[in-house]
């Protein structure tokens, strides 16, 4: 089959530069090897098999997911050693038990004693153990028990003391690195999260508990600090694609962003000095968007419409690729502008 150019696509279309994805993935693999830390890439941004293959270096092992839909999708396609890194939802215990009994290694995460109680009520078959990570909040302020609270240690002890349950590790997401600008600030957050996590591991050790440790976020893992080598794992995810937000933070350059939204000019509005494009809500930087329309204005001066005839292609770099990708039921994959095929993501929860 003759390879088609990007311009043959109906728009709007999410296009993925597979060479950039491979480069971004390889750089992260090498970075982790140099640090001496296990990379457990997060699948939440792309949710596809193909990108997971690239990010795991083909092993199909050792991944993180954000939904059970992702966990099942990857389990159904030969992936294993899957961490469902989401504070165990009590309506999903049975589906987690199924995955734990089906896979070699399915791991869950919790941050509340009540979730542990639910695990007790559902012992796994064949003497299998629930593999549990304790979610620690090291300043990110979303999910997790706060690192400084005594409840964090007592919950770890409760997990260890529960029959049929294993404390696999301690997991912290340094999402506060998204507020950073530049490598220095990123590394300050990376250092702080690493320090707090390692201090917590020391406290655990003092009470006789040893387990793995993991921190993650694309900014901190794109510019890791040396001490991250003392952790067991890191779990960044967005870096496969990157996006404008990551370039603003300082995780990457704009050239390293592997995804774009291809759109076409569908209207000329000289009475408003605007173009209309066929791309709506997609998390992008534009004047305004509604469901299926985007309004594009020049920075200054009148628009030269002759440069943008109806049907002409524009490419937009997503501000947040996780949010943009989720709007697209298919990604169009290319190498140097030649279409290679499609990646179909999983959706839902």
């Amino acid at each position: 089959m003759k390879e088609k150019p990007l311009s043959s696509l109906c728009t709007p279309a999410l296009v993925v530069d597979v060479d950039k994805v491979k480069r971004n993935a390889l750089r992260m693999i090498e970075r982790c090897q140099n640090l001496g830390v296990q990379l457990r890439p997060h699948m939440k941004t792309h949710k596809t098999l193909e990108c997971a293959d690239i990010m795991t270096g083909g092993s199909r092992r050792c991944i993180v997911v954000s939904t059970l839909a992702e966990a099942c999708f990857y389990a159904d396609h030969g992936f294993d050693d899957i961490l469902y890194a989401y504070s165990l939802p009590l309506d999903k215990v049975e589906r987690c038990a199924d995955l734990s009994e089906r896979l070699d290694l399915f791991q869950i995460l919790l941050d509340h004693p009540q979730a542990l109680d639910e695990l007790k009520k559902r012992p796994l078959r064949d003497g299998r153990l629930w593999h549990v990570w304790l979610k620690l909040d090291c300043g990110n302020g979303r999910a997790g028990v706060l690192h400084s609270q005594p409840e964090a240690i007592s919950l770890a002890q409760a997990i260890v003391g529960t029959k049929g349950v294993e404390l696999t590790g301690v997991y912290a997401h340094c999402g506060n690195s998204y507020n950073c600008r530049g490598v220095e600030q990123i590394q300050a957050v990376a250092q702080e999260t690493t320090d707090l996590t390692l201090q917590f591991m020391e406290k655990l050790k003092a009470s006789g508990i040893t387990c793995k440790s993991s921190i993650g976020s694309t900014p901190s893992c794109s510019h890791p600090v040396k001490d991250m080598g003392k952790l067991s794992e890191v779990h960044p995810g967005n870096y496969g694609f990157y996006d404008v937000q990551q370039s603003v933070i300082g995780s990457c350059t704009l050239e390293e962003v592997a995804v774009k939204v291809l759109t076409r000019v569908i209207g000329h509005c000289p009475h408003r000095n605007q173009l209309l494009i066929d791309c709506g809500w997609c998390g992008l930087r534009l004047l305004s968007m509604t469901q299926e329309h985007g309004r594009v204005e020049p920075i200054s001066g009148p628009l030269d419409y002759s440069k943008f005839p109806l049907g002409s292609l524009l490419t937009l770099i997503p501000y947040h690729s996780c949010a943009t990708a989720v709007m697209h039921p298919v990604y169009h994959v290319h190498s140097e502008g030649r279409l290679l095929g499609k990646w179909i993501p999983t959706r839902g929860w």
Copy 2:
């Protein structure tokens, strides 16, 4: 099969109260019958067969869609008389030709002479005509030729003068009704859009052209003005579901909103006086959202966590149901809290 309660759903889940949808749809049908205007409901909000059946009163005829994916989805399932109400994208002419040759009545919309040129290059088989609506901008300021510009009349004349093409109607979306607060303001926009459209029809008539006319938006069609009876059609869409935004505008009451997002408490954060819920970016009113987490705060005072144990259900009313629905690959349909089944929307473009 025993009907299950809503609480049996894994969350987050978009739930649709089918009784409310039927009531909203019936009220719009009756309103249009009383006005003496043809209702052509828009499918963009729900994108499902079942809701389209309800909104067309079972006829499966006379609908508007916002994407060709919707057009094909409905055409494949026995719908006809479909208007693709989106300024003809030049990369999609061939797909539109296919639909025009396949359906009894497939209609397109344009607002630029260049789009007309593309139609000339692709005459339809078997003597079929391209059925074209002229998109008119009556103050909404998105797509369309401005009603006051001479180009609007000359484009209508060019359509009429083109072999193989029929000027079916003039189409205006009064999306500026979304800026209204209350019935009075809504009716002022409805009146203005109606007046400008009817004046344009007079101008066309003066140049020997007669065709249909249509305006639409859920606010204006929820509180129509009498003169809308002089139009041929109206094309509201959101009203099947309605949402918080429509209640703020004054199109409906909050009780009439037929969709909710069911979510569960997945975390207690007493150190921040917050709950975490298992529902992220969905266009809802919450303190903050990330991909799979929402942060919920009390209006004032400390949160009483005992009232919201982990796993407890909360229901959120979408701010904009079009934007929320698009995040969900399945809708769960209930009547008085008993689950009846699922609606599967179409996606993509």
